[in-house]
């Protein structure tokens, strides 16, 4: 009962944070509302007894990555008059909502068909570092390996797009 209340609280907070990210005009406010989403997601993970993911979500996403993003925004020193003038933004937002209504309706209908299952107590080892590690390196070795390729492309690409170029070399 208590956990159900927590679930609703975290879910609403996560959605509100995501809405704030899209709707706030100033990037700093957007970044701060993304932090709210990240932390509420961590709460949802903890309700699922996913201990390691909960900790990683807080340390890596809500902590490290978000502070990096906020530092960058602070370095850019964005004032109100630096922001673009978006005259039709409410029209676009309304249009986007209209397009999304059928998708949301569809999703709610799908979610309605999920049979209600009583919460069960998982084993005490569930979601710990050892258990996640075993699953990651035994069952999911291939995705784990090819993510390294993905990170390499991203790294080289970031250097190419933003770095200094020696053309022709």
């Amino acid at each position: 009962m208590f956990s159900e209340g927590l679930f609703y609280a975290f879910s609403v907070l996560a959605v509100l944070g995501a809405l704030g990210l899209v709707l706030f005009r100033h990037p700093m406010r957007g970044a701060m509302s993304l932090v709210v989403t990240m932390i509420s997601l961590a709460g949802l993970y903890s309700l699922l007894s996913a201990k390691l993911i909960f900790v990683l979500q807080l340390i890596v996403y809500a902590g490290a990555i978000m502070s990096l993003i906020i530092f960058i925004i602070m370095f850019l020193n964005i004032q109100d008059n630096d922001l673009p003038v978006e005259e039709k933004r409410f029209a676009y937002t309304a249009g986007g909502i209209v397009v999304l209504i059928p998708v949301v309706y569809f999703l709610i209908k799908i979610a309605g068909t999920i049979p209600g299952v009583e919460a069960t107590i998982v084993g005490s080892g569930f979601g710990g570092i050892k258990e996640v590690g075993l699953v990651l390196f035994q069952d999911w070795l291939l995705p784990f390996e090819i993510v390294s390729l993905l990170l390499l492309v991203t790294l080289v690409g970031a250097v190419v797009l933003a770095g200094k170029r020696r053309v022709g070399k």
Partner: protein, 469 residues
């Protein structure tokens, strides 16, 4: 051992990508050398893939990779198309970047990384693996599209493509999550067993498949997610556009075919949906293409139409005994025509791509008769005139649709093919029936010219192959 050999082409290209990435740090190495090195690796991978062959479905490293990768004749054919696209695109790039100077060695490294992602995508038998492979491929392509930082259209193209691609990626993960919720696994084998046990169709599974289809439609530019393709193809440099139009489409269609051929029950549920998407994609694409005056934009729109034909082939597959031969053949036939077109555009375009409109190619046949003849061959192949590869590809697709009982789809395919003559022949008319107003001088290395004429040979070779054999 067999597993390792099946994986060898991928390893060769991956090693080539890392080698080029490291070589990019050296001052002495010219960018032209990078093109040649990448050609060597693509050629080696192509050759190994050809020698290794495919055979029926064969799971690679079943114990270690947990059944997430598999090869088959179809994935092998798609891999050959992708390596070939990489090879000929490197040839075009070699000439193109001799005139348009903004390339560095990293360009070829990123292109090879993205080929790695494509080949992984053709072999993926699991949704998370497929998602990561899709992102490796897409990230590489985003960077190639936006490589020219000085041109505004390239910046616009990368921004549009990145945003919409991220959107598609989000839909894909959403779909994978729903399917996992329904079937309890993301592996294709387990999903097909679940469908066989629950033939009525579970809402979670239907919803998940629908979202994955949306993501795939974005990538192959099917209706109604085709709007980005014209601007993005226009903004990218000519060889990159050719690479996107062919290799990326081959990889995504391989995934799409593997996914939809899970089981005949699953395929049967989606036939009506795919029918309408195929029809709207063909006619929507034709409508966009007829209005274009820029050749790259016209080819982008015609790429939408070709996605429509491939969707016809997907409607008509037999999920029980899926071979993918029709799709593989059409992908190869489409790839040689389109690659040839963009190779010709690469060397005829000139610096800053100054010749891109239909009017810029007026009288090409008077000044450069061989180039004009080659372009005509590619256009006729795309329009589907015998004895080119494009004709045989369309012939197989239409006959497979008829034998699957989809008569309406076959007729609509033929109608759309006739409509598409309008914009293909427009370029032929402007090349042959006007006087030349300029001399079409080209500078730079002749590799793109050579690849154009090699591809002309391929258009006829692939077209005649089924008749001769």
């Amino acid at each position: 051992m067999q597993d390792f050999v099946s994986l060898l082409p991928l390893i060769v290209v991956g090693a080539g990508a890392i080698l080029l990435m490291l070589l990019a740090a050296f001052e002495k190495l010219e960018v032209e050398t990078g093109a040649l090195i990448s050609m060597v690796f693509y050629g080696a991978a192509f050759f190994i893939q050809l020698v290794v062959g495919g055979g029926p479905q064969d799971v690679i490293f079943d114990k270690i990779f947990n059944g997430m990768l598999a090869t088959s004749n179809f994935s092998m054919a798609a891999g050959l198309v992708i390596f070939g696209c990489g090879f000929f695109t490197s040839m075009s790039c070699h000439s193109y970047f001799g005139v348009n100077k903004f390339c560095t060695l990293d360009f070829y490294a990123i292109k090879m990384f993205s080929v790695c992602g494509m080949v992984l995508l053709t072999m993926a038998q699991e949704l998370v693996t497929a998602f990561i492979a899709l992102e490796i491929m897409s990230l590489g392509i985003y960077i190639l599209v936006g490589y020219d930082r000085t041109r505004l259209t390239a910046t616009e193209a990368i921004l549009k493509y990145l945003m919409l691609g991220a959107f598609a990626g989000a839909f894909f993960t959403m779909g994978a999550a729903l399917i996992y919720g329904g079937a309890g696994s993301t592996k294709f084998v387990a999903i097909s067993q679940f469908i066989a046990a629950n033939p009525a169709g579970q809402p979670l599974l239907i919803g998940g498949a629908f979202f994955i289809f949306i993501a795939i439609f974005f990538k192959i530019a099917a209706f109604p997610f085709h709007a980005w393709v014209v601007d993005v193809y226009d903004g990218a440099s000519a060889p990159v556009t050719g690479f996107m139009a062919t290799a990326l489409k081959a990889a995504v269609f391989a995934l799409f075919a593997n996914f939809i051929a899970l089981s005949s029950g699953f395929h049967g549920q989606w036939i009506d949906f795919l029918f309408w998407v195929a029809v709207l994609t063909m006619f929507g694409g034709n409508l966009v293409a007829i209005g274009q005056s820029n050749i790259k934009r016209m080819l982008a729109a015609s790429g939408i139409v070709h996605s429509g034909y491939l969707l016809i082939a997907l409607v008509a597959i037999n999920a029980e005994q899926f071979t993918g031969s029709v799709i593989g053949y059409y992908l190869a036939a489409y790839a040689v025509g389109t690659l040839g077109m963009f190779a010709a555009m690469s060397y005829l375009g000139g610096s800053g791509e100054k010749r891109v409109n239909f009017d810029d190619f007026k009288g090409l046949a008077k000044v450069r008769p061989y180039s004009a003849a080659a372009i005509t061959v590619f256009l006729l192949s795309m329009a589907g005139i015998p004895p080119t590869a494009g004709f045989m590809g369309k012939f197989y697709i239409i006959t497979s649709a008829i034998s699957a009982g989809q008569m309406a789809l076959a007729v609509l395919g033929v109608v759309s093919s006739i409509l598409s003559m309008w914009y293909y022949l427009r370029l032929v008319i402007s090349m042959y029936f006007h006087d030349a107003s300029e001399s079409f001088e080209t500078q730079g290395a002749p590799l793109a010219t050579i690849s154009t004429f090699v591809l002309v040979v391929f258009v006829f070779a692939i077209g005649l192959y089924p008749i001769v054999i």
